[in-house]
């Protein structure tokens, strides 16, 4: 039994008006425990709508979402409990901060779960350390933090609910390169330590290539591909036809391959490329 499965998920906005728009069209997939999955796709391909269906924020027009084998909409009154199990961090989550202190804001989720005060306190501290948020910042007002700190505080607010599945919608959008790296590393570390499932929606192929095991490709409301990261990124031309590209290093290696140098298709990291090229040059006796 898969942890999370989608069967023929379809969502139509503004049904039966001139604004009608099919955002997600019969999407099916299975996600296993411990997966780190990337979702890529052009703007408007339905990524955000899809992830909002996974934690029951929007109800599919048709199709089902199964968590541990149970339809999440079986009992609509209990949908809130699904949201604690499938944590969703929205795009630009810093705009949802509202409490007087960072600590209270991170505690909002756990408090809604009805936990005891002591547990909440512990969870806030854990979540803050997961996103590398200095404990000196906890008593401050969230509006006094820097942009990157706000973002991390908001993400901590979802991590504090300790969800089985953590979904992040463009967590790195608008951050500087260093901020991106730090945040991505923190998320990866969190995934490794808790061994839980993470879904990362991103526009950055580099980010997806560095951290994800598997990649879903959305194109015009359809799920176009769902495979290992290497498999997906070794199909550069197919991605290009969907206005997507492969990571820069993959495209460099692809160019080298097409000029006759035997390297691996779908090379994802600079480190691996350097290793392979060095080995090739040694073999050729040029190094």
């Amino acid at each position: 039994m898969s942890l999370l499965s989608a069967r023929d998920l379809t969502y139509i906005y503004s049904q039966k008006t001139p604004f009608e728009h099919k955002a997600v069209d019969s999407v099916s997939f299975d996600i296993e425990r411990g997966d780190f999955i990337g979702i890529i796709g052009h703007t408007g391909s339905g990524k955000s709508t899809l992830v909002q269906m996974l934690n029951g924020l929007i109800r599919p027009s048709s199709g089902t979402v199964m968590l541990n084998g149970c339809d999440i909409w079986e009992n609509p009154k209990e949908i809130r409990s699904i949201r604690f199990k499938v944590g969703l961090v929205f795009q630009y989550p810093e705009y949802q901060l509202f409490e007087e202190t960072v600590e209270k804001d991170i505690a909002f989720g756990p408090t809604n779960m009805g936990l005891k005060e002591l547990d909440i306190r512990q969870r806030v501290l854990d979540a803050a350390s997961f996103v590398d948020l200095n404990s000196e910042l906890l008593p401050k007002s969230p509006f006094d933090l820097s942009g990157g700190e706000k973002r991390r505080a908001a993400i901590a607010g979802v991590i504090a609910m300790d969800p089985d599945i953590l979904i992040l919608d463009e967590p790195c959008a608008g951050l500087d390169p260093l901020g991106r790296d730090v945040l991505l590393t923190q998320i990866y570390r969190y995934h490794k330590q808790r061994n839980n499932t993470v879904i990362l929606v991103s526009h950055s192929m580099e980010d997806v290539a560095t951290v994800c095991d598997k990649v879903m490709v959305m194109n015009r409301s359809h799920l176009e591909m769902f495979d290992t990261t290497q498999q997906v990124f070794s199909q550069g031309e197919r991605l290009a036809s969907m206005s997507l590209r492969v990571p820069q290093i993959t495209s460099i290696v692809d160019t080298l391959i097409s000029s006759g140098i035997p390297l691996d298709k779908g090379t994802l990291t600079v480190e691996k490329a350097v290793e392979d090229i060095t080995e090739y040059m040694k073999r050729e006796g040029r190094l």
């Binding site: 001139p18 924020l57 779960m113």
Partner: protein
């Protein structure tokens, strides 16, 4: 909340959509006055027929009109019932202090038809005219007031901006509500106090973002040297075409016919 329809622009293509918005506003005002100048059933029937004709050629689904009628149906029923029982004259039906007279029945029918016509025609205006066209036309129509130092352009600009940001803020509210719901916020249950308290996590971020947007818009406008009304030209010039003159003639003939029917037949009110 995204599906909210409150006299909203409905972009289909029809003769009414393509009319000059100034003509539409002035005609609506004329019709509103005319609705209350119908004193017998012939005039009222003609008025209702004209309203239904306009609704039909506007090519907006009747369902949309019914939706906006639903909002005021309670008011219509209550005023009709009150009018029914408060008529003067000899009762045709009496039960205790409740009596129904012919005058009462007439009153009730007139009130009901008049309010429905009023709503249909004003919905026809808002369904077929985009908010920017509306404020544009208002600015033009109010222009004579500038001689009394009324800042017509600035008022129109504020209206445009306010209307422009209604959908944006609705969308923003949607997003923030979704984000807080994702953290387990419960906004659907509990008594009124609990529910109002539950709105705090939505309202604070919403206000902050509204102020941020206002500030950013002001900066963007200043960057483009926005000065206000003096010497400004516009991208979309309003022109009267044959279509507009035809619609004016139609409106005038409806007015003439209603007045004629009023004069020809005895008033029932």
């Amino acid at each position: 909340m995204r599906d909210i329809t409150l006299g909203q622009f409905f972009p289909t293509d029809s003769v009414i959509h393509r009319l000059d918005p100034r003509v539409k506003i002035v005609s609506l005002m004329a019709y509103i006055i005319l609705i209350f100048c119908t004193f017998n059933y012939y005039a009222l029937a003609l008025m209702a027929a004209a309203a239904i004709f306009i609704v039909l050629i506007s090519r907006v689904p009747i369902k949309m009109y019914l939706k906006s009628l639903k909002v005021i149906i309670v008011i219509v029923i209550i005023t009709s019932i009150l009018n029914l029982f408060y008529g003067q004259g000899t009762p045709i039906f009496q039960w205790g202090i409740i009596k129904v007279t012919w005058a009462g029945i007439n009153n009730a029918i007139f009130v009901c038809v008049r309010i429905v016509c009023l709503l249909l025609l004003s919905s026809a205006l808002t369904f077929t005219t985009s908010p920017t066209d509306l404020t544009d036309a208002l600015e033009r129509l109010l222009k004579p007031l500038t001689i009394f130092h009324v800042k017509v352009h600035e008022i129109a600009m504020m209206m445009t901006i306010a209307l422009r940001f209604v959908p944006t803020l609705l969308e923003e509210t949607d997003k923030i509500m979704a984000a807080q719901k994702a953290r387990g916020a419960d906004m659907e249950s509990g008594n009124i106090v609990v529910r109002i308290r539950a709105m705090v996590p939505v309202l604070i971020p919403l206000f902050i973002s509204a102020f941020r947007r206002a500030y950013e818009l002001a900066v963007a406008m200043e960057c483009r040297c926005y000065q206000g009304g003096e010497g400004r030209t516009r991208m979309k010039q309003l022109h009267m075409t044959g279509r507009d003159y035809a619609s004016i003639i139609f409106t005038l003939s409806v007015i003439a016919c209603v007045v004629l029917l009023d004069v020809l037949f005895a008033p029932v009110l």
